[in-house]
Symmetry: none
Subunit: 228 residues, 2 copies
């Protein structure tokens, strides 16, 4: 269970502490000390989860949460609110803005990890429900069908899962190791170069409908599916 997690916190010491713990837990932290920086990072990296401090200088955490919920691309990203206050009133208000969970400072790393795990697990099944479509490339998990501009596209099982993952995590670079984790499974042992081969097979299958251009190579890093 490895994930990219955006931490928004204005207190540098706390920010570093959280990031350190996230790394220990096997996650990849992204750090922001303001809502503005957070917004830039979110649109670039599309994290799997956002840890959001309630009180921020300038734009508040609540306002940031609202904006994340307003944008279609970021709407589905889970949010965990951090706050020093423990008033029931604030909790309700926080949940009302769309936070998925709520942690009051001070909190233990153990508690933080537990909440993160729970939220990620809760979110996982939702991804498999709805059909995904980007730039005319459509994948329907229920019917197990892929179409490009309406024309049917045939994929092998692995290429199907690979495309499914890319479509549900677009606009973001995935390393070969991450793709192996998410598409093949956390435990299996296969060469990283095998990812290249399946990317190739996926591209070849998408080529007749000119959908292969959506899959981009980021040299030295991995692959990305992008609408552009």
């Amino acid at each position: 269970m490895s994930a990219t997690i955006l931490v928004v916190e204005d207190e540098p010491a706390i920010l570093e502490l959280i990031a350190y713990n996230l790394r220990l837990a096997g996650h990849q932290p992204l750090c922001a000390d303001s809502a503005e920086q957070a917004l830039r990072l979110v649109s670039n990296a599309l994290p799997d989860l956002v840890l959001l401090d309630w009180m921020l200088p300038g734009t508040s955490g609540i306002e940031l949460a609202r904006r994340l919920r307003a944008d279609k691309r970021t709407r589905s990203i889970p949010i965990i609110m951090l706050t020093a206050r423990s008033e029931e009133q604030d909790k309700l208000l926080g949940l009302d803005t769309g936070a998925d969970d709520y942690i009051t400072k001070p909190f233990s790393p153990r508690e933080l990890n537990a909440r993160i795990k729970a939220v990620l697990r809760r979110r996982a099944p939702q991804m498999t429900d709805d059909a995904v479509e980007i730039s005319g490339l459509r994948l329907d998990p229920v019917g197990h069908r892929v179409t490009g501009n309406g024309e049917s596209i045939n994929l092998g099982p692995t290429e199907f899962r690979l495309l499914h993952f890319l479509l549900t995590h677009p606009e973001r670079v995935h390393s070969r190791a991450q793709l192996l984790d998410h598409v093949w499974g956390d435990h299996v042992f296969v060469e990283e170069r095998t990812v290249d081969v399946h990317i190739r097979r996926l591209r070849k299958a998408l080529e007749p409908e000119r959908m292969d251009r959506l899959i981009q190579t980021v040299r030295g890093t991995g692959y990305r599916l992008s609408a552009a």
Copy 2:
């Protein structure tokens, strides 16, 4: 009693809570957080039951219920309304739009399961009443008769139930385990490959009328009945 149940609820926490409980009860939940998403899922997956939140952003739950009742294909799907309000006035209005039952939040998982069971049991006989037809392949549960382009087709009991399930859940891939659950029964123990054999027998019976092409194999996943 295993069923595919669509949950329409805009509050993510509640949505996942319900989905979790449905899975525990042996059902397969489909999640939607808006009426629009719900409509897409309904036409794709044709669930056995819809759990519908009263209040939804955009198109309301009441309006969604009306649309489901307006379409011939979805008319017979039972609907259970969820609401935070408990006013008698709303209850009446909700039932008037065609909801089969009504639960006021907060509710216990036990209560939810009981209502679901009751509604499915009530609806069970009705599901077998309607004749199903797709691309000229027609199955009449009452007369226990199957025709392809008007010509009679003879099926054994198991093939009949299998075709019935496929016809009532078309355009959607079913794993062998799911087919065993729905056609054979939740508890029986038979090999998964047995499904293959009965698919084969069903195909052979449909072959003279060229209806075997409707049953498609999705390698590594299962089988699907499709009009295309």
